[in-house]
């Protein structure tokens, strides 16, 4: 008979069970990990106009910096670049398929690429990614060629191998006659190659855009496009607003930002950090960094910029690397070069002119001029139709060097600091027209670090 009475309990027990399930779900939701990142926890959603797909990433990363004014989150969102599952709030699920560094060359075609973005037509100057993939910084072809020649594997320094196999752009290059190569094969030393070449392949393929950085102060950096355009401090600490990123863990970008205002310190995360020791084929970091504390900012810049015994002029350490070296030199022009020497074409005369003529310049008349686009991307530059700016021998605009009346003014891309550019024309310079490389200028203008 008692069993009969208990039969009336089942609906009640079922209801209690349902309540328990709901309470459990409620508790789980109330204690969800994403809530710890906000003082006033709320799910934050955006529907980027580019994808139309709802994303909840900002629920955790709510105060992260916008990556750039050209990639606003309400337009691009997060998933288009970083992948992942945008509608998930669970950390593991949300980060399934996450691309931590969309600028890495292994993924850049799907993240930064696209014909309307950075894999567009060369004529529109939107072929950033294919150019970078062929740049000397990505292929490492020069270092490989020189080592192969040094150890007798090949008879000359013409590049035959790169970090990966790649074809040059088709057609003749408009590069002033500098030598190019048609294709590179992936570098893989033959089993019978000299031991030091084997060691080079094992130890030394660390200085290119696809190589992970040495995880140590002064070396921290990202890979691919981000190696240059996402700034890292020498301590590798994140100093932005994303609450999910630790502030005391080295190896992070300074802030979640893309920039074209690139200081020399960013270039130095790869360049001027040490040397390869040929007898052992190992990398030996510089022993003189960090700079001594007693140095002031200028002295520190000189100290960190170049290694001892290097000769350079005032502007070579006063300015940043990107103030002299152009986008075609640094990011490539789509053609394959055998070495840094062949890829570079800027000379002192590009800005200072010669005894015979001032530097090349032109006046902007087209509102679609590339110079205006480049200036727009840099927060320190202001340029408009009607301005007269310098250009290289190849017609590449230098939007940061502008004629202001009879003054030639350079604005540093990274800092906005301005300098008057002295001209050779009309000066007491003894320069010979056929001697334009910097080492000729160093004869009189050299500054040597102690």
């Amino acid at each position: 008979m008692r069993r009969v009475a208990l039969a009336g309990l089942w609906p009640l027990l079922a209801t209690a069970g349902l309540l328990l399930v709901v309470v459990g779900a409620w508790l789980r939701e109330r204690t969800a990990p994403w809530r710890r990142y906000q003082d006033d926890p709320q799910v934050r959603a955006v529907v980027p106009s580019l994808t139309g797909q709802r994303e909840l990433c900002l629920t955790c990363h709510w105060s992260i910096e916008e990556i750039s004014p050209s990639h606003p989150v309400e337009v691009v969102g997060c998933v288009a670049c970083h992948g992942g599952v945008g509608i998930a709030l669970d950390e593991d699920l949300a980060h399934t398929g996450l691309i931590r560094n969309p600028g890495d060359l292994s993924v850049a075609a799907q993240t930064c690429g696209g014909s309307a973005c950075h894999s567009g037509a060369p004529a529109d100057h939107r072929d950033h990614l294919p150019r970078v993939e062929r740049s000397i910084q990505a292929t490492y072809a020069g270092a490989i060629a020189y080592v192969l020649r040094a150890f007798g594997v090949q008879p000359d320094s013409v590049a035959r191998f790169g970090i990966y196999a790649v074809q040059s752009y088709e057609g003749p290059p408009d590069n002033g006659g500098r030598p190019v190569v048609e294709a590179l094969a992936a570098f893989q030393p033959a089993p019978d190659a000299p031991p030091l070449v084997q060691q080079f392949a094992g130890n030394c393929l660390t200085c290119h855009l696809s190589a992970e950085a040495i995880q140590a102060p002064y070396f921290y950096r990202a890979t691919g496009c981000s190696a240059c355009h996402v700034l890292y401090d020498n301590d590798g600490l994140y100093k932005g607003g994303d609450p999910t990123l630790p502030r005391d863990e080295p190896g992070h970008m300074r802030r979640h930002e893309l920039t074209t205002a690139i200081p020399y310190t960013q270039c130095n995360h790869c360049h001027n950090r040490g040397n390869y020791e040929l007898p052992t084929m190992t990398f030996v970091p510089r022993a003189d960094i960090p700079a001594p504390d007693y140095l002031n900012a200028i002295e520190r810049r000189v100290h960190e910029y170049y290694q001892p015994i290097g000769q350079f002029t005032l502007c070579e350490w006063e300015l940043d690397c990107v103030d002299c070296h152009t986008r075609r030199e640094v990011m490539g022009d789509g053609y394959l070069y055998s070495s840094q020497r062949d890829a570079r074409y800027t000379e002192c005369r590009t800005c200072h002119g010669t005894l015979d003529a001032p530097p090349l310049s032109y006046t902007i008349t087209d509102p679609d001029d590339l110079a205006l686009r480049l200036a727009f991307l840099n927060p320190n530059l202001e340029l408009q139709v009607g301005d007269t700016i310098l250009m290289t021998d190849l017609g590449e605009p230098l939007p940061h060097v502008v004629w202001r009346g009879d003054r030639l003014e350079l604005t540093m891309k990274a800092t906005g600091q301005r300098y008057d550019v002295p001209l050779v024309l009309g000066s007491g310079c003894q320069q010979r027209p056929d001697q334009q490389e910097s080492h000729y200028c160093h004869v009189c203008h050299a500054y040597e670090r102690e």
Binding site: M1, R3, V4, A5, G8, L9, P11, L12, T15, A16, L18, L19, V22, V23, A25, W26, E29, Q42, V43, R44, A45, V46, V47, S49, L50, R54, L56, P69, S70, H71, P72, E74, V75, V76, A116, D366, P367, D368, L372, R373, F376
Partner: protein, 172 residues
């Protein structure tokens, strides 16, 4: 064989309990639990629905009375992401969404204290003239003209889903 209650309030053989009060107790408890479950679930659902979200622009939105706008004037109507322009001929609306990637363009000049010189996109520097025609930058085409109407209460309605001719004006 189990005996069944002979009527709703009677449980035969259960002399030690009060059948009527137990049934009521169970029923009451069940209802209370169901109510609590429903309230909890509804509260959570409501919170989920109230997510801070960037709203999609509606297909149309009201923009107030015509007399609210000086002539000439230029007003950004956030709800429909459009610029409502009043000139000497009447009202028209320009889509504020850049035809390149979808950023919101900014007006150069307010059309009242300073002449409207055009529109510029803060993302990739596309420029449009005061009529919304593309001047420069990566934008593939000009800004869209959106239909403007008066509803039955005399309010201006801007339709994102209806393009119109650049010469069309609402006279109000």
């Amino acid at each position: 064989m189990c005996a069944m209650p002979t009527n709703e309030n009677e449980w035969p053989g259960e002399e030690d309990v009060e059948p009527l009060s137990r049934r009521k107790l169970f029923t009451g408890l069940r209802k209370a639990l169901l109510a609590a479950t429903g309230a909890l679930a509804a509260g959570e659902a409501a919170q989920m629905m109230a997510h801070s979200s960037q709203p999609e622009p509606p297909e149309s939105a009201t923009a107030g009375k015509p007399e609210d706008y000086a002539a000439p004037s230029l007003t950004f109507v956030r709800d429909v992401r459009a610029y409502l322009v009043r000139d000497a001929l009447g009202f028209y609306a320009l889509d504020a969404v850049c035809s390149h990637l979808g950023c919101l363009v900014r007006a150069v000049g307010d059309g009242q204290n300073s002449p409207l010189l055009g529109f510029e996109c803060p993302c990739h520097n596309s420029h449009y003239d005061a009529q919304g025609e593309r001047i420069s930058g990566p934008a593939p085409r000009g800004l869209r003209y959106l239909a403007v109407e008066l509803d039955s209460t005399g309010n201006l309605i801007i339709h994102r889903d209806r393009e119109t001719h650049p010469d069309d004006r609402l006279i109000a």
